[in-house]
Amino acid sequence: MTGSERMTVFDGAELPERLDGLDLGKGRILLEPAAEEMEFDLLDTFDGQVAAKGALLVAAGDALVLLEPQGLLRQERAAPGFVSDLPQGPVTERLRRLVSPLRTLMRVAEGHLTRQAVRGVDDLDKTHLRGTLWVFAPICGGTVSLLEMAALRGYAPTLARLEAALAPVVEDIHDARGAAQALRGTGASAPVLMAPDETAFRAAGDIIRSQLAVARQQEPGVLADLDSEFLHDYRVALRRVRSVVSLFKGVYSAERTTELKARFGAVMAHTGRLRDLDVYLIERDKYLSLVPEAMRPGLGKLFDRLAAERQAELKVLTAWMDSDAYRAELHGLARLFEKPKRLAKGPEAERPALDYAKTLIWKRYRKVNKIARGIDDATPDTEVHELRIACKKLRYLIEFFTPLFDDPEVPRLVKALKRLQDNLGNFNDYSVQQAALGRVAEDLARDPGSDGVAIATSLGALVTVLHQRQMEERARITSSFAAFDGPDTQAGFRRIFKPEEGTA
């Protein structure tokens, strides 16, 4: 038997016309005259996780439908939200694998849907293929057609003929990702382009502009408190901006650099506490599983307190983010990078980006090695902390300059670095969490309330477990670095990032 037994084709608005009566050699395509007309919502996470996995989640009529190349799943319609809050069903089950539990599903496009049965028949009008044509006409965005077609048993060759007949005419919407972008009217997010010979100044400006735009896109989600990841992504984007300012040494004047660091730092400072609380609450179940059964009620009460604190903190943050002062500050910062003449250049501003990137990355790589080689099991934790920061900076630098290093080995090097970072990150998280719980304990001592004793006892148990985990991570650090410091990785960094003699 040749060919597959089902296919999915995406296209723009013209697909129905192309299909109707399409000649398949020994047969043709028929569109059944009866079409269903209804409104639809396209559902996805803000960052498009469903579409990124090649699927479209559609709410239409009384059904929630997940369209994937391998087939269609359906369950009763329900309001979008976190996957864990959706009613049980095959769609929910599948979404669990596609969508992060931290992200909420939301309506990302809406419009009119026409659904029509399609058949492929031969010269005797015997059916060979059966399927459905979906035409989505969104209110904003562009029309997307989707044909899902299956061959009746034994008729796969006819399906192959249809595929061949459609191949030359389909537009640039090839998959669910492209379809979702068209429906959402967003288009593919343009990657930051970078040329090896452009100036370091220009490269810095491009990265900052794109990250500022990402941060601003998160604001509505933060204000509406849709899920925790809007704030997280907001912070990541701003942290990248700050990193460019501080890591791209000499690109901006010293005064400008100090000023920018301070201003972006001040913006981020408003968000720190809320993010910390989000992290605790996300980890609630994990923390509960770490302590003995008897300690869990006390810990549960602690989380209730943290949840209440989060609500208060959210109010403070959203009031600020909704203020004229905030808008004026972000607008002012964005304007600086729109007209780069407004920024005083530093001594390195005119260096070619590639040359500059190599210098920065190589220097940072050597610093990582230097710190790491000095670490043994007796080294104080502050050194480990320093190694973590150095690794983080190295990672940011490689990521910022990714467009300049079109080398298949780069992802492998980043992966090796990431493994080391995971270890260091866990070590740090356990340490930070213990410190934070220590502060909670102090607060508790001042204001014990009726649950004070129960909470304090469970806190003690949790801190003990966290300390144990931290020690386990600490014990792995020298071997983690040894794994990162292998000859292949060393050679890779040297070959790709080491500057030419005399330029470093």
Binding site: D122, K126, L152, R153, G154
Partner: protein, 247 residues
Amino acid sequence: MKIVASYSNKGGVGKTASSVNLAHGLAQSGLRVLLCDLDPQGASGFYFRVKPSKKLTDERFFTDVKRFTDSIRGSDYENLDILPSNLTFRDFDVFLSRMKNSRSRLHKALKSVASDYDIVLLDCPPNLSTLSENVFASADAILVPVIPTTLSERSFEQLLEFFAETKLSKKKILGFFSMVQGTKKLHAETIARMRQDYPKRLLDIAVPFSTDVEKMGVHRAPVATFAASSPAARSYDALRHELQQRL
């Protein structure tokens, strides 16, 4: 999976029409059905507009399971697949008779698709041959259409004798009257006599002679799809119901 054979050792008794309508009715009732067109003179594939498969043109047919399953075609109706006939099918019995241990080969071929179907319906060629014997051995039920005439009565007797000689279980045989013409005195008398002689071997079904059944050739579709309320369609449905009771 159940195997049901539609068989008659006499031609022109409405065997293929019963197979086609029965297969369609079983599929409509929700069972997954495979209709195998084993009769070179029959036309069950024709009624479903399924063209003969090129893949069946050599003798490896029952020995090569993949070739068997690849030859199956989906019909226009849900739950109903067809194994189309082929010109060289007329050689099948000869081919099978030449083989040793042929008794189990058909069974094996059918077993390979068992997971896909609830019922496999075999539209058999009209003679007593090795293929027929194979079919009789592996089938759970053997439907035998009988025109209520003296000649058909003799054929039915011969079939029962054949079962006795070859030590096959007679219980599998489910006869029913076909192409019955209510105005003919001979039909009524034969029906009465045969019901008395073979009370256990005959279902309480009499499919009438009908132009609707003849029109199947024009529509190339089961009678229920274009004349659902006709007497013929209703008796085929009764036949389906009786068969499901027996299985």
